[in-house]
């Protein structure tokens, strides 16, 4: 059995046994919905309805209800798309990459992080769909034989690479999440007394029994899926960055985009995980399972990836001068001093300066402060994508084509709506699904639980 070093902090606090783990995590599912949950989901539900209304209006009337114009053809739509995809990446990183690195602290957070990934990718995938104008012919993005001579899609285009990448990412994340959930659903099924929940969890658990051979296969599948999900994380966001990098306009056409976007995605994703989990651990009494150590580790990831993003910003600035290309230099001068300087200031402040506070141990172990910073990072990363897209589009090579973008209420409403839908889905997940990976936590109880560790 794996022996943990005595000086390592225990990962599971308190006097927990295997049964306690099950009880603590299944209790919220078995009991009645707490009042706070009902209030929250009503609010997020209303926001979602408003967002869906905005989207239906958009689909019915046309993309002109957004503030887009000939100069700035992409603004909030693609900003939101990249923002949501970035958030999704943290879940896969926590599940897959940390599994490959044998980091046991991932076990308390991976289930909810993966759920967050799936809901975030659903939100992300909505935007390419609704921004194309004629969503009813959206199936044209797939290489299906057709009556137009069989007109095929363009495999050279990053926009198509996106289609394959996001679809693959979504379906593989879903499969990974669900395979892990099956044994936990079985646990709930065997505990449920009321007939309807028992039947539902029975169907959801696929008849899982917990045989030794099945567990062996389970671990192999988890390992292999983690192995293939890891390059998926890197490739998907690199492909998203190629939507910009393979273009010709200054501020977009730079080779630093793939690594910059990938680390930015991990950065914003971990911030969102922190935002959600810091609230969830308090409201669902999971403080023994998700505690300061987990938050500290996540803050360390934030400072690493935030610093990479900061270095990427500085590199872009340096190269814009060093290259001697006047268009590139102007693009960055315009970002800092032009009509969108305020967005650039938000971006730089939130993303470069704020994560640096986590060099101080006291601050990265402070939960309230971490929550505050996680919100700042979420906001900052939205502004980063906004700055990249809008400032590069609104003033490119030819001054006679220059224009400006101003958001309409539908732009804003659609975005707020997706936040509402995401939170609604997450609240439903927290109510009906086991938010921690029961079977995985039990495997580390003996090695990293406080009760057993130093006895």
């Amino acid at each position: 059995m794996h022996k943990d070093a005595a000086i390592r902090e225990p990962l599971i606090l308190g006097d927990k046994s295997y049964k306690d783990i099950t009880d603590d995590i299944v209790a919220p599912i078995e009991g009645a919905a707490p009042k706070g949950w009902k209030i929250l989901i009503t609010i997020t539900g209303l926001i979602s309805l408003y967002g869906i209304g905005c989207i239906l209006y958009l689909l019915g009337t046309g993309v002109g209800v957004w503030g887009l114009n000939k100069t700035v053809g992409w603004a909030w739509d693609i900003t939101n798309f990249v923002w949501w995809v970035g958030i999704g990446h943290a879940g896969t990183l926590i599940s897959a990459v940390l599994l490959l690195f044998r980091q046991k602290w991932r076990m308390a957070i991976n289930r909810s992080a993966e759920a967050m990934t799936i809901f975030a990718v659903i939100m992300a995938a909505m935007f390419p769909g609704i921004h194309m104008g004629r969503i009813w012919v959206g199936y044209w993005v797939f290489p299906l034989p057709n009556q137009f001579g069989s007109l095929w899609v363009n495999f050279n285009s990053p926009l198509l690479w996106d289609v394959f990448a996001i679809s693959t990412y979504f379906s593989v994340s879903l499969v990974f999440w669900y395979i892990g959930l099956i044994p936990d659903f079985a646990t709930i099924r065997d505990r449920m007394v009321k007939p309807l929940p028992k039947k539902v969890y029975g169907i959801l658990s696929f008849g899982w029994t917990g045989r030794a051979k099945h567990w062996t296969r389970f671990e192999e599948v988890s390992l292999v899926l983690a192995g293939i999900a890891t390059p998926l994380v890197f490739s998907v966001h690199s492909i998203v960055s190629m939507d910009f990098a393979t273009s010709v306009i200054p501020g977009w056409h730079t080779t630093i985009f793939p690594p910059y976007f990938v680390s930015g995605a991990v950065f914003s994703g971990f911030a969102m995980v922190l935002t959600l989990l810091l609230i969830m651990r308090k409201t669902m009494n999971l403080e023994s399972y998700i505690h300061v150590k987990h938050v500290e580790y996540m803050n360390i990831v934030i400072i690493v990836t935030g610093s990479i993003v900061g270095v990427a910003y500085l590199t872009e600035l340096f190269i814009s001068w060093y290259s001697g290309v006047e268009y590139e230099s102007y693009a960055f001068l315009n970002r800092a001093t032009g009509p969108y300087w305020w967005a650039y200031a938000w971006m730089m402040g939130c993303n470069v300066l704020s994560p640096q506070v986590f060099w101080f141990k006291k601050l990265r172990r402070n939960l309230a402060f971490t929550f505050f910073i996680s919100i700042i990072v979420n906001v900052g990363m939205w502004f980063e994508r906004y700055v990249i897209i809008v400032t590069s589009l609104h003033r490119d090579y030819n001054p006679s084509s220059w224009g400006e973008f101003h958001a309409t209420p539908i732009d804003i409403g659609t975005f707020i709506g997706t936040i509402g839908i995401f939170l609604t889905l997450f609240l439903l997940f927290a109510r009906f699904f086991p938010v921690l990976a029961l079977n995985e936590l039990k495997t580390i109880l003996k090695s990293s639980g406080e009760k057993y560790k130093n006895s």
Binding site: W161, D190, G207, W208, T209, R211, A212
Partner: protein, 170 residues
Amino acid sequence: MYDDDGTLMTAAQALVDKGLRVKDVYSPFPVHGLDPVIGVKRTRLGICSFLYATTGTTLALLGIWYFMIADWPMNIGGKPSFSLLENLPAFVPIVFEFSVLCAAHGMALTYLLRNGTLPGMPAQNPDPRTTDHMFVIEITSDQNHDHSEESIEGAIKETEIVELSVKDYE
């Protein structure tokens, strides 16, 4: 039935040492080190996923060759539409993603089918507590013809069991 994975492992080892064959072990989580003791062979699912991945790569390359080179090559910004090899860098993202798709879904489906765990299947664990905090070793007399029922029971009782249940199957 046992209430701890440590006693489970010692018990399994003790029973196997006495020459008994263990039919199965039910646990709420994977117990490491158990497989070689009770004779569970390595799974070949990893090899499966590799084969599915190569299928995906082949399909994707074949498809892209047909769509972009053979059937309707087009001059898109001067890209070499006459040769798959020269245009290959641009096709790598989709070939990779499709391989991952086939590997992941192929392996997941194979896993579910091999385990017999599919939507709607009934639960087959002997006791509902085995998905919570208890462990069950199942020994059948069918697999242990050279031991009498009493000797099997005796061997089991020597281990640190919490409960013992004897079932008759026709």
